[in-house]
Amino acid sequence: MSEHEYTPKSKAGKWFNDRLPLLTLGAHLTDYPTPKNLNYWWTFGGILTFCLITQIVTGIVLAMHYVAHADLAFASVEHIMRNVNYGWLIRYIHSNGASMFFLAVYIHIFRSLFYGSYKSPREVIWIIGLMIYLLMMAAAFMGYVLPWGQMSFWGATVITNLFSAIPLVGDSITTWLWGAYSVDNPTLNRFFSLHYLIPFLILGLVVLHIWALHVPGNNNPVGIDIKKPSKDTVPFHPYITIKDAFALLVFMIIFAGFVFFTPNVLGHSDNYIPANPLVTPAHIVPEWYLLPFYAILRSVPDKLGGVILMFSAIFILFVLPWLDTSKVRSAVYRPIYRQFFWILVIDVLVLGYVGAMPAEGIYLVLARVGTIYYFLHFIVVMPVVGFLEKTDPIPMSISEPVLSGGAEPSVARKVNEKI
């Protein structure tokens, strides 16, 4: 793991490190050779760590005041907002933090897609990342249920009802999930329990994610393997830490803008109406970060088909490293794939948009076209383009085109652009 043997200077340090090499780990993290051309899209890993810690810390404080009971949950949230010191701040950080978390994770995932970070030898990092993403969605969904407003209740009803599509045992499974014959107090209780558990599972996976990252080291915008350490790398500290800190602060300014000035703009106003099993809202919509999947779900006329397709939309990402046949990692040198990448981005945005609209008329058509394209991108476009595409010439090292400049002017310019 470490590139050089680390020996603590102090006697006590050496004594401890011989028994538990924490100091060696610290030295490894500090010296970790990182490609020096990482651009700002690479800062979202650090930002995501910040998001996770923020959610855990604010969540623990909220749990001290929140009451997970169908009759008291809504009132306890209002109690937090009105009577707990800075309760409004903690809750708004937590609720907007979920959105910021997903914003960051989507950028992180699309960065990986653009620069081919999921490809060999980084498949395991990618898969662990997807597991984190799945758990994030579960945590966010259950967290949204906790205030026990109208959208909480009906969102929970819609999502848990998906399991009733499973043949034969579907209804039994749904009843088992609810702990009752509809979404009710037992459902709220277990969702709270799981909502508290999942972030710590995520934390564990994040450790594995970073561990798996430190085996091959970071990918980079050029997408080539680099010697480590070399003149192409910089030590993680202080170069990457300061850059991450700068990007994180910019991110925090946006975050603070939401928290202090438009804290409810990303939520749904119906969730300030207490849950009422007798009144169904006109439109039941999930939080924005789940909308693309919601659109896929509703694009299929058959319930089971919709559920299968929705889950496939996520699980297809798990085999992405093997669907992509291109030897070249970075889309910077893949003129054709690059176009398709942006079409995919637009496709997902369109799916998100129609996910928020009623499933009828033009929106349904758009949802179906978007869904078909989504799968085509992964099943057809990625393997075929990988075979047929003529890629641009790739520089031999990170430093070379930047420093020499003369050899391949076009390449040098392109690389420069990405740095």
Binding site: K36, N37, N39, Y40, W41, A75, E78, H79, M81, R82, W88, L89, Y92, L103, Y106, I107, F110, V234, P238, Y239, I242, K243, A245, F246, L249, V250, M252, I253, A256, G257, V259, F260, F261, P263, N264, V265, L266, S269, D270, Y272, I273, A282, H283, V285, W288, L291, W342, V345, L349, G352, Y353, A356, M357, P358, S399, V402, L403, E417, K418, I419
Partner: protein
């Protein structure tokens, strides 16, 4: 710089903006009011809050509860800021049920600042029964619970009209052009001169609607002023820190040949 990067940022912003659509066709867009509490440094108009409370107390509170507010809130910073004596007097003007006492009996006593706002009905069912089958919603967070917020509440209050020809209304249903479906079970309770404002402001329908909506906006977000004030400080702090970190970053990266 990186054109593709800008394009992505643009797309993401577009995406977030496009997230709050969905509206039924019949609804008219609410009137846009220039609220004092709008914007980054918005604060409540203190006098309007006090008048709004008066409208709430004399008109709305006969049907609508505000169960998450306490009388003490009326004297707190960022709210109507009634004086301590005024808050005590307001609270004492309500008979609150307390108990059980040592004999196991419930009893009535004058309200205290620590009491929650008194409910007009003993329970939801009673409220529904007394209002022709429609529950007058609790108003504690009403402004946050409606799309359009304060503008929407204000619009509904001033949006009563005679129904257009061809629209027939059942008994106890009224026509309101800002309401979803245009039908509302709450009668038009505001009329010019309905309340007598202590500060001499003319109590027109628009004035009362504006005052009571301001009051409801505060009730839904009593932290708004503190939030705005803290937010400005936090952003200034973060911007300064960001500049310092940016300069440090430039300095550190100047040791190597790569630009950051």
């Amino acid at each position: 710089m990186k054109r593709s990067n800008l394009r992505l940022v643009y797309l993401i912003i577009l995406f977030i903006i496009s997230l709050r659509p969905i509206q039924s066709a019949e609804m008219v867009d609410p009137i846009k009011v220039d609220w004092s509490f709008k914007g980054l440094t918005g604060t409540f108009d203190r006098a309007s809050l006090q008048r709004g409370f008066q409208v709430y107390k004399e008109v709305c509170s006969s049907c609508h509860s505000m169960q998450y507010l306490s009388y003490r809130n009326l004297g707190e910073k960022g709210g109507p800021e009634f004086s301590e004596e005024e808050v005590k007097a307001i609270a004492a003007s309500f008979e609150i049920q307390d108990g059980p006492d040592s004999q196991g009996e419930m009893f009535e006593r004058p309200g205290r600042p620590s009491d929650k706002f008194k409910n007009p009905y003993p329970n939801v069912q009673a409220a529904i029964a007394a209002n022709g089958g429609a529950y007058p919603p609790d108003m504690s967070v009403l402004v946050k619970a409606r799309k359009g917020g304060a503008n929407y509440i204000y619009s509904v209050l001033v949006g009563y009209e005679d129904p257009p020809s061809g629209v027939t209304l059942d008994d106890g249903v009224y026509y309101n052009k800002y309401m979803i479906g245009n039908k509302i079970k709450m009668p038009n309770n505001l009329s010019d001169g309905l309340v007598e404002y202590a500060d001499g402001t003319a109590s027109t329908v628009n004035q009362m609607a504006k005052d009571v909506t301001t009051f409801l906006a505060w009730a839904a977000e009593p932290e708004l002023e503190e939030r705005h004030k803290t937010g400005v400080k936090v952003i200034i702090y973060l911007v300064l820190l960001t500049i310092l970190v940016y300069l440090s970053m430039k300095k550190i990266w100047s040791r190597i040949d790569t630009e950051v």
